[in-house]
Symmetry: C2
Subunit: 189 residues, 2 copies
């Protein structure tokens, strides 16, 4: 249910940016939104969602800003992890992710590549943290068109995983990335 609500809020976000209705309608809508927030706030967890064990025994980060099904800010990306080690995700980004007019913000590309490259190093219940990340922007990444982000491990050296990847549209690569991801020897953020 929370996931379905988050999906409805994603559509609301898009409409909030793009609407051209009059102020009277905006006022009416805003009061309904405030009412909805009040209803949901009758019982709130402290802090953020974090990572939780679900009923199937698997840990899930439902509040994550990139992949969290409960987080309306997340597209959310579905990360696939092929047997040959390729990590990839297909997605389309709308008006909420805009930087240059009609294009995805370069920082959003960085955010997605951080997550997808990092996913090459993740192990069950043993996440990897970003050490360094380098991005090379070749050209603008379009809003509203099919995009793919992918990454693979270049090499592993002790606790460090060196990953490379990119974002591409139908015409080819728009942003390249390389990063070093670290498995801490003991738990730390």
């Amino acid at each position: 249910m929370n996931e379905q609500l988050a999906q409805s809020v994603r559509q609301l976000i898009d409409a909030t940016i793009r609407t051209e209705v009059d102020d009277t309608t905006l006022t009416t809508v805003q009061s309904k939104i405030d009412w909805a927030t009040e209803q949901l706030s009758a019982s709130l967890m402290p802090g953020s969602f974090g990572v939780r064990q679900m009923s199937d025994g698997r840990s899930r980060a439902l509040g994550n800003v990139v992949i969290g099904d409960r987080n309306p800010v997340a597209p959310p990306l579905r990360i696939h992890d092929d047997a040959d080690g390729l990590v990839w995700t297909d997605f389309v980004l709308g008006a909420a992710y805009e930087g240059p007019p009609g294009h995805v913000h370069g920082g959003v590309c960085a955010m997605i590549l951080d997550h997808v490259l990092g996913a090459t190093a993740h192990l069950p219940d043993k996440p990897a943290y970003t050490g360094t990340l380098t991005l090379r922007y070749l050209r603008g990444t379009p809003l509203g068109q099919p995009l793919r982000a992918e990454a693979h491990v270049d090499r592993i050296d002790g606790t460090k995983t060196f990953a490379v990847g990119h974002i591409a549209d139908a015409e080819g690569v728009t942003v390249q990335a390389e990063g070093v991801f670290i498995h801490p020897r003991e738990a730390q953020p």
Copy 2:
């Protein structure tokens, strides 16, 4: 009015992630959200907001994912540009920007640093585009605590601006960044 609505939607996003109310309430709230989206969608601009000339003659990117006042996904950051060339912004990020439990997603730090470093190179109506961006993560960046991102120009070489900066919390720097930002010779995304 649109900016006030966006602020209400930001509060709704936080409550959507953190709510623990029962399914009956979630269903009722979701139907109200869908109604609100329908009202706003009675008149929608095509595509995204882009950059528009306001009544005061200044151009504004109200739909921008980092600074856009109309975009509920944007915190939104207020970017200050000091006379000595320092660009900075103070902010607090909530549950919607989570990566590691209780911490800002490394990709969100990258997004903010891309924007703040890029702002050192922006000229009125002549934005700069990211060429390369390198991030070094020193430790986790906390959710719910005061943060500052700042940047300055290291050097300029033709159309290229070399900028450096960081994000810090009360204990010091959490992420360092350096980037090259480019003024295209002719208009391009």
